[in-house]
């Protein structure tokens, strides 16, 4: 048997490599959504596609890449996979997990002629075609309306770029320069990871490398099971009414051995971009399971061994072709929030009250008033977090689906987009009172500077307010408003391609978190 310290050194190295891949993308990507918002993830899987380690800006992307590598392995004939190859996919039905904006690149790692691992990354591309700038139309009836689909294909063949594919990609984006920049940044990240893993295997040998991965999975599983043991046991059915009036049902069942999330009773898929693939919904279950069992340790395939996830094909959580996926992330976060709510009710001391729980994705495309260049701003919003049994909730942070996500400084946004910010402050509206109070969301206002500007947005938690816990008051809701220069006032939650004129003011208001306990 290998000595435990050697295995540990290899595990640490694998974790450092995923982190290094992440740093490369962060420093070279072209789109703010990648380098600033860090809507990007990097990962290393074993030869079979099981997640070994990941570097990610957001928890939602920790659990994506293994699924892509596994899907890719099913479709690519093994003997066609060569050193130096890089594959690309963004299609939720054949290889991607999320929506067409998320491009996944994956590279096989060969050491001594053997495929020993995969390195992969995912990043949100600002525009991949479709009917609206930013590619996320709220009225898309099918996936073809959302832009270019890429089943798993070779982007780079044994080190040589597939130029026709690059040409197709560039021709299908409103922002081809950004696409090229983001693509090469992703390639650089994979090549770095590939080089590092080869060196690692050469240093320690294939046997210790494999043993280290196996041991790493087991270690993470032990963490998860220790956390599972602390959770309340039983069957916890749940139901929640959404902004559109539909009711979603699910069941969490916790035993000594398993944590099962059953969403088979979910509504049927819709001909609107409010569906997700099974793997996309699975990420919500993984997120909540991880949060509940082992929030502060390693995360790999072993972490999720006790988790079971049951879906029904044809439902919003297991959509089949050709359902569109543009706002899959709102579907995913609604599911995560629902599961969190039910667990918190079962064990109120262990979890905070609800948070604003929406990506609040906001896309503004337009022309810069000074430079005349086109820009596309794609960003999530911060909001209020819930109080806990011991303290008030956090103010203005990104949602549970985000993590190392950074807002864009006002000073940079004004230069980059030509907006004029009027306010960047807490949303002081009342709500979330309790023994401990929910934290405030944000109130951001800016006036549009240049022409040819359109707004797209997807905000949930727009009607039913954030839930309080243990007698604490509910928080508030999320919305986006537009004050027209002519004096009209609009309020939106889901909108795409909304035309804005110079001088129109956009106001973003996000919810206050829920209170915890009855106010003394």
């Amino acid at each position: 048997m290998s000595d435990p310290f050697t295995l540990d050194v290899i595990q640490q190295a694998l974790s450092a490599i995923a982190e290094e891949m992440f740093v490369v993308i962060k420093r070279t990507a072209m789109s703010p959504i990648i380098y600033e918002v860090l809507d990007v993830g990097t990962g290393i899987t074993d030869a079979e596609g099981n997640m070994v380690s990941s570097g990610a800006g957001i928890p939602g992307f920790v659990g994506v890449l293994d699924k892509c590598v596994q899907a890719l392995r099913q479709r690519i004939p093994p003997d066609s996979i060569r050193p130096g190859d890089i594959y690309i996919t963004n299609d939720p039905y054949t290889g991607g997990v999320t929506h067409l904006n998320d491009a996944v690149l994956a590279m096989p790692v060969f050491a001594g002629g053997t495929l020993v691992a995969w390195v992969a990354n995912i990043g949100h591309w600002s525009d991949i075609g479709g009917s609206v700038p930013g590619s996320m139309a709220v009225d898309a009836r099918d996936i073809w309306a959302e832009g270019l689909r890429l089943p798993p294909i070779k982007l780079i063949d044994a080190g040589v770029a597939n130029e026709p594919v690059l040409a197709i990609l560039a021709a299908n984006s409103r922002l081809p320069d950004f696409l090229r920049g983001d693509l090469w940044s992703a390639v650089a990240s994979l090549r770095k990871g590939n080089e590092r893993i080869i060196r690692l295997v050469e240093t320690y040998g294939h046997a210790d490398f494999t043993a280290a991965i196996t041991d790493y999975f087991d270690y993470a599983e032990r963490h998860a099971r220790a956390g599972l043991a602390r959770l309340p046991k039983g069957r916890f059915p749940l139901a929640e009414t959404m902004d559109d009036g539909t009711q979603w049902h699910a069941v969490i069942e916790i035993t000594d051995e398993h944590f099962t999330v059953d969403v088979r009773e979910a509504p049927d898929q819709v001909a609107l971009p409010f569906n997700t693939s099974r793997d996309g919904a699975l990420i919500a279950a993984q997120l909540i399971f991880k949060m509940a069992t082992a929030p502060d340790t390693v995360c790999n395939a072993g972490s999720y061994r006790p988790l079971r996830f049951l879906t029904r094909p044809g439902s919003i959580f297991d959509a089949t072709e050709p359902a569109p996926h543009g706002y899959y992330s709102e579907i995913r976060i609604r599911l995560a929030d629902m599961l969190w709510h039910r667990l918190a009710e079962a064990a109120p001391e262990m979890f905070p009250a609800g948070h604003f729980a929406s990506i609040c994705g906001t896309v503004i495309a337009g022309r810069h008033p000074h430079t005349g260049r086109r820009f596309t701003m794609v960003e999530p919003q911060m909001g209020g977090w819930g109080a806990t049994a011991t303290r008030d909730g956090n103010s203005a942070m990104y949602s549970s689906n985000h993590g190392e996500t950074f807002n864009c400084p006002v000073e940079i946004a004004e230069a980059r987009y030509g907006f004029t910010y009027r306010r960047y402050a807490f949303n002081d509206e009342p709500g979330g009172e309790g023994l401990h109070s929910g934290g405030p969301g944000i109130a951001i206002e800016y006036a549009i500077g240049g022409g040819e500007t359109t707004l797209s947005a997807g905000y949930t938690r727009n009607k039913a307010p954030v839930w309080g816990l243990a007698g604490g008051a509910p928080g508030t809701t999320n919305r986006i408003e537009v004050d027209r220069i002519g004096g009209d006032h609009e309020r939106h939650a889901f909108v795409s391609g909304l035309k804005l004129a110079p001088g129109d003011v956009v106001r973003i208001l996000t919810a206050r978190g829920g209170g915890w306990g009855k106010a003394g």
Partner: protein, 691 residues
């Protein structure tokens, strides 16, 4: 006879250190003295005078007094600053508390956002607005100022920070606000963001201004008392204060903006390593400083330290921390030193650090009741540290306590005690390797192109193993490695790093005149500032680093712009160099145009060069330095009988192969089997590491 004499004092948490150097220009005779005394809070100057007395320094004869202190970082981490009020542009007072919205512990639902240093009630707003191009779109409205200051006085505010939007591009509103505050309330310390930094990013700039104001009264009082105490003893020379950018600065400049001292301790060690390399003709250096609690590393390329303004305190995997946007040497610090505690988690995995046994109780070997095994204890058990010469013979190592502590660790993992000791050393080494990779590989550098200069009490113990793992061929352990950092303080130039954001876009037309204007403006500012302090314009050296990026990108790379005219040709050369630097770091280049985002100007002035003093050889044979032989466990290479050398008897020209151990009072140097050591003309130990 002319005597060049200077002294450096360094006030740490526990001890105040002193290094004294004098050189007689007639005889060439050099004298070096070191001394240590207790740090004496809150009257720190007492400890400084104590250590000067202890070393027998006659202050009236002294020309240079260089000083470093952890006062600022301690005041910040212990929250011992003054109540601070903040004034911002209207609509933006919550920026300080909103921060960047990130959550590093992203699976942790109980994550706690770091609370701001100024509560909401003391964050106030005034009207007026600038654009990112520095144009005024709304005039400054100081009407609310009277009421704001009245409220601040009533609340007991002790310092005021002012940070207005786009003040980096045009500080006129900030200047007018500062003037109005000074007129209305002359005795309150007040600082504007533009006085500290001219870079964009309002959260970082606001927080920096707030933290500077927060520590300003404390730092000023401290420096005033230091100045008075020295003057009281007849000192009539120059006082310089060590800064975080590896330079020193004047007392007056430091009093105004004390936040620039925040990382002065690590900076002096990095600078000493850079100077050591320069003296030996080695430009590429990895500096590694291993102390009791932490290890710090930095990369020096072509003799140049890397200075950045992306510095954060209290940032970790569990906290977003607080940004301080001042020039700080680019270091990575990890909680891994000689006193780091080895522990086993609930799932039988061994970890080392970041908890440290500190000085009390200290490692188990101190025999002061420390029950937990530390890296030092593991090194003792493996025979790498001599139990009979522990801490220079000042202390008898409690080997029974060491054995007990290691047994407890070993039992939890299920291995023999010696295997656990080897494991501790390997895990500690691995932590440090990852830190060294972060400053080299993660920044696009190959460690194999660098010489590792290791110092601090633990540098010599681990350096050779780290080098072997990283592919580094050459290691240097400086003479007096344990107090090496203090040398840096005596070797530093006056140095100021000016970071200025100025977007020069394609739409602005020909970039050459715009860049030339920017460079001239900042160079003139630096010259004027030095001039006001009596430094002649001719004595100031500039290094122009232009911050460039591909159009639409955010993060920039620094590209050096040579001295001389800034014309179309110079800009074209700059672009060529940008593509080259970018590709080296990131493996690809783009056809996209280059954009200039700003300038990093280094303005330095020498204040009398000091080199490392040569060590003379008596011609004694190597034998005279050999203390004996003992069995040493090298962890990965196993157990070997090794020669033990006395560092104080090693002379220039001596050379010997590993396995060997060099013992010095403050440190132990381990030379692994297959490696070769030799002593250079300065008494530094060089280790050649075969690959």
């Amino acid at each position: 006879m002319t005597l060049l004499s200077r002294v450096a004092t360094d006030v740490g948490g526990t001890f105040t250190d002193l290094v004294y150097f004098e050189a007689d220009s007639d005889t060439g005779r050099q004298t070096i003295r070191t001394a240590k005394s207790d740090t004496t809070p809150p009257d720190f100057e007492r400890g400084i005078l104590d250590v000067l007395d202890k070393a027998g320094i006659a202050l009236p004869d002294l020309r240079f007094f260089t000083h470093g202190t952890t006062l600022v970082i301690n005041a910040l981490t212990e929250r011992k600053g003054v109540m601070t009020g903040l004034i911002t542009s209207s609509g933006f007072r919550d920026i300080l508390e909103i921060g960047r919205g990130n959550r590093p512990a992203f699976f942790d639902a109980h994550y706690r956002k770091p609370p701001p240093f100024v509560p909401r009630g003391l964050r106030r707003e005034i009207g007026g607005r600038m654009t990112y191009r520095g144009e005024e779109t709304a005039p400054l409205d100081l009407a609310p100022l009277g009421a704001i200051l009245a409220d601040f006085r009533a609340a007991g505010v002790g310092a005021i920070a002012v940070c207005l939007l786009h003040a980096y591009a045009n500080p006129a509103h900030e200047r007018a606000t500062l003037a109005a505050i000074k007129a209305a309330w002359p005795e309150v310390p007040v600082v504007g963001s533009h006085q500290i930094t001219r870079e964009w990013r309002e959260y970082e700039r606001t927080n920096t201004t707030v933290l500077s104001a927060y520590v300003q009264p404390i730092a000023e009082r401290y420096l005033d008392r230091l100045e008075a105490s020295l003057a009281g003893r007849g000192f009539g020379g120059q006082i310089y204060i060590m800064q975080s950018n590896c330079g020193v600065d004047s007392l007056a400049a430091t009093k105004a903006i004390p936040i620039t001292m925040v990382e002065s301790g690590p900076a002096s060690g990095v600078w000493a390593a850079a100077e050591l390399g320069r003296g030996l003709g080695i430009g590429n250096v990895l500096a590694l400083d291993i102390g009791g609690t932490t290890a710090k590393c930095a990369l020096i390329e072509g003799g140049r330290v890397q200075i950045k303004t992306d510095y954060w305190i209290e940032r970790s995997r569990t906290s977003a921390g607080y940004p301080i946007m001042v020039p700080v040497v680019d270091i990575v610090e990890i909680g891994n030193g000689g006193g780091s505690i080895a522990w086993v988690d609930d799932f039988a995995k061994l970890h080392v650090g970041p908890q440290s046994a500190g000085a009390m109780p200290g490692p188990a070997a101190y025999g002061r009741g420390g029950h937990e095994a530390t890296t030092t204890d593991a090194n003792l058990a493996l025979g790498r540290i001599n139990p009979d010469y522990f801490c220079g013979g000042d202390m008898v190592a409690d080997m029974a306590a060491v054995g007990g502590a290691l047994d407890r660790v070993a039992a939890r993992i299920g291995v023999p005690a010696m295997a656990a000791a080897r494991g501790i050393v390997r895990i500690a080494n691995n932590n440090m390797i990852n830190a060294l990779k972060m400053v080299s590989i993660n920044r696009g550098h190959d460690p194999r192109d660098f010489t590792l200069v290791a110092f601090g009490g633990g540098g010599g113990m681990h350096a050779a193993a780290l080098a072997a793992e990283l592919g580094v061929r050459h290691v240097i352990i400086p003479r007096g490695a344990a107090v090496f950092s203090a040398w840096g303080m005596m070797m530093s130039d006056l140095r100021r790093d000016y970071f200025v954001t100025r977007l020069i876009e394609q739409a602005d037309g020909d970039p050459a005149p715009l860049l030339a204007a920017l460079v001239n403006e900042v160079e003139a500012q630096a010259t004027a500032q030095y001039g006001a302090e009596g430094v002649a314009a001719g004595a100031v050296r500039f290094q122009r680093l232009v911050k460039c990026r591909y159009q639409n990108q955010e993060h920039t790379v620094e590209v050096e712009l040579p001295a001389g005219a800034i014309d179309a040709e110079a800009v074209a050369a700059l672009a060529g160099e940008f593509h080259r630097v970018y590709e080296r770091e990131y493996t690809y280049r783009l056809a996209a145009p280059m954009e200039i985002v700003g300038l990093h100007l280094v303005a330095a002035a020498e204040i009398g060069k000091l080199g490392f003093p040569p060590l003379s050889a008596t011609g004694a044979p190597l034998e005279s330095a050999r203390k004996g032989r003992r069995s040493v466990d090298f962890a990965q290479e196993g157990v070997h009988d090794s020669d033990i050398y006395d560092a104080d008897r090693l002379e220039p020209g001596m050379a010997f192969p590993g396995p060997a151990v060099i013992e010095e009072s403050g440190t132990t140097i381990v030379v692994h089997p297959g490696q070769h050591a030799h002593i250079d003309g300065f008494g530094h130990v060089h280790i050649e590491v075969p690959q």
